[in-house]
């Protein structure tokens, strides 16, 4: 190539200062927008506390809801309903979900059926919760004759959060290094022994995080429960799984929908109680995940 070039470096007008300025504006805009969501969250929490904190009294926790005298209303029925739902969902969804994940990760051959199951689960995770309510209406309420009981509600919520548990558990199982399993097999362990004694303990923090997130999701749902006919005005606590029920989100919905200001205070108080259950749960999940990350140095 000849030495002379028809193009010289002075043909460029890089306008660096201008581009830098523009970059700073962009960075500033991105930062502000990022914190808009956080600001929204802060305003929401402050507003809820402002409206409802003074209404969260022991009386509130122990009374039944009352339409006629909101000052005496309480969330006893809703709170107990939620606790019952939590219990049923956890008892059913956790074993089934973890077992399903164990099967898919440890046992399933890599064939079309397994891929189809995986595809299916990711799709189920995206189905609106109200559709699960419709399913539960037909299967649990009508077909299994469970009627509008807390057991129906719990089973519906189980189906709802099963994909969440399976996906999270699979990720946790996937993170266990292959060498652990191979070491156990080499010593003559059966597949189940390997899973039970080597793989599951290591994957446990990740699985627990998934379970906590799933249960948090289940507690916050109202739509599927309303669809099966959970009542919005319930003046008793379920004493058996077959009793009718209400739940915190439903009660909050009912109170929010009424025009009188007192009910909005009640709704805010109910939200505080609901968040009071959810926040510690999520804090545990965050701590577990952080602890697991710190242990990851192996």
């Amino acid at each position: 190539m000849n030495g002379a070039s028809a193009i010289s470096a002075s043909d460029f007008v890089p306008r660096i200062a201008h581009r830098r300025r523009f970059g700073r504006v962009f960075e500033w805009t991105c930062t502000v927008l990022s914190f808009v969501g956080i600001a929204f969250l802060a305003v929401l929490i402050l507003r809820v506390l402002w409206e409802g904190l003074t209404w969260v009294t022991p009386k509130f926790l122990m009374n039944f809801p009352s339409v006629l005298s909101p000052e005496d209303a309480g969330i006893k029925s809703a709170l107990w309903g939620t606790l019952w739902l939590m219990a049923i969902t956890t008892l059913v969804a956790v074993p089934v979900g973890v077992a399903g994940a164990v099967y898919l990760e440890e046992y399933a051959p890599h064939n079309r059926l397994s891929r189809f199951i995986h595809f299916n689960i990711t799709n189920l995770a995206g189905v609106p919760s109200i559709v699960y309510g419709i399913l539960g209406l037909a299967v649990f309420v009508r077909w299994w004759r469970l009627d509008r009981s807390v057991l129906s509600g719990g089973l519906i919520l189980t189906l709802l959060v099963l994909p969440v548990i399976i996906i999270a558990s699979r990720e946790a199982l996937l993170a266990v290094p292959k060498s652990m399993r191979e070491a156990a097999y080499a010593l003559g362990a059966t597949r189940w022994q390997t899973v039970r004694t080597h793989v599951l303990p290591v994957a446990l923090p990740g699985i627990m995080t998934g379970i906590i997130l799933a249960v948090s999701r289940a507690i916050g749902e109202a739509a599927p429960l309303i669809t099966i006919g959970a009542l919005t005005y319930v003046a008793f606590v379920p004493s058996s799984p077959l009793d009718p029920f209400t739940a915190l989100p439903i009660q909050i919905y009912d109170w929010s929908d009424r025009p009188q200001a007192e009910f909005h205070h009640l709704a805010a108080a109910g939200i505080i109680v609901l968040l009071g259950i959810l926040l510690p749960l999520n804090a545990v999940a965050v701590v577990v995940r952080a602890w697991q990350q710190s242990k990851k140095a192996w």
Binding site: T31, V36, A99, R191, G220
Partner: protein
């Protein structure tokens, strides 16, 4: 050597785990079966053409019931579209900020905090929309805003799906290899140019998948829109009036006393079926796009 009892136990465990895994398939089949069965009954009485192209929705009216679902679909997409208008700029900006600009200490705090937005139950967002967003944000802007309106629903659903977009986009940006960024910086590009003209385009399919998943979530959202947007189906693009979404309609009927096996009751299933088809289509497309993105970068 494994004895017969031990081998049978292994087989039994294998079978049990397998059963748990295919519960997910049973769930999907159940959903499809229930929706189709009842929808068939519905479409025996109401022509699909009237359903899918009619513009008036009044199925429970005793004098002149009409079954055009378009107002519900319109309400659903009006709110979902508005939610995306809120969530995409904020979510993308947050993802760009977190992955390209923020120091690790800020990233460690900002990302989980945004996740909290996704963990708050939707009834809480509905309450906030009704009691704060409408009176204190929308009314001052436009005095004619009705108490129930689509805009407040769109705003809160938008905030709810910000983490979906920001988290997935952040993952997509981080999947873009460092060598690509280095090549761009070596061409005397500023950080703005590298992030917007190299990283974001390279991660575009991941961004698209994130937006689609967020859209599906917004469409399936129930309680927040039921509270915020109201219960009056309208074919409109005016965000300041009340509308009804597909999900909101199902909640409305479930809360009422419509007896089973009436045409009014069967409308729930037809609407749920339409909802299911829409969200499933969007989710499947999103998963396909995501899969293709992962193949390129992993």
């Amino acid at each position: 050597m494994m004895g017969l009892a031990a081998r049978l136990k292994e087989r039994a465990i294998h079978a049990l785990l397998f059963l748990c895994a295919i519960i997910s398939i049973a769930t999907t089949l159940g959903i499809v079966w229930v929706l189709i069965e009842e929808s068939v009954k519905f479409f025996a009485k109401v022509s699909p053409i009237e359903f899918f192209t009619g513009t008036k929705w009044a199925p429970l009216s005793s004098e002149a019931p009409s079954f055009g679902v378009l107002p519900l679909v319109c309400g659903t997409f009006l709110i979902a579209g508005g939610a995306l208008i809120v969530a995409i700029p904020i979510g993308l900006a947050a993802a760009i900020y977190i992955s390209e600009y923020a120091p690790p200490s800020v990233r460690r705090v900002l990302k989980p905090t945004l996740e909290v937005l996704a963990g708050i139950p939707t009834v809480v967002y509905g309450y906030f929309a009704l009691t704060f967003v409408t009176p204190y944000i929308l009314r001052p802007l436009y005095g004619q805003t009705e108490i129930f309106n689509a805009a407040s629903a769109a705003i809160v659903v938008g905030v709810m799906i910000i983490p979906t977009i920001s988290s997935l986009c952040d993952d997509a940006f981080r999947a873009v290899p460092r060598s690509l960024r280095e090549g761009a910086y070596a061409m005397a590009a500023t950080r703005l140019e590298v992030s917007t003209r190299v990283v974001v385009p390279a991660a575009m399919s991941g961004v698209v998948a994130a937006i689609l998943l967020a859209l599906a979530r917004a469409i399936g959202e129930t309680m927040a829109v039921a509270l915020a947007a109201g219960m009056t189906p309208k074919l409109t693009v005016n965000p300041f009036v009340s509308v009804q979404t597909m999900t909101g309609y199902i909640v409305q009927v479930s809360l009422g006393d419509t007896p089973a096996d009436t045409i009014g009751y069967q409308t729930i299933f037809a609407v749920a079926f339409a909802l299911f088809l829409i969200t499933m289509t969007i989710n499947v497309i999103a998963q396909r796009v995501l899969k293709r993105f992962r193949e390129v970068y992993e």
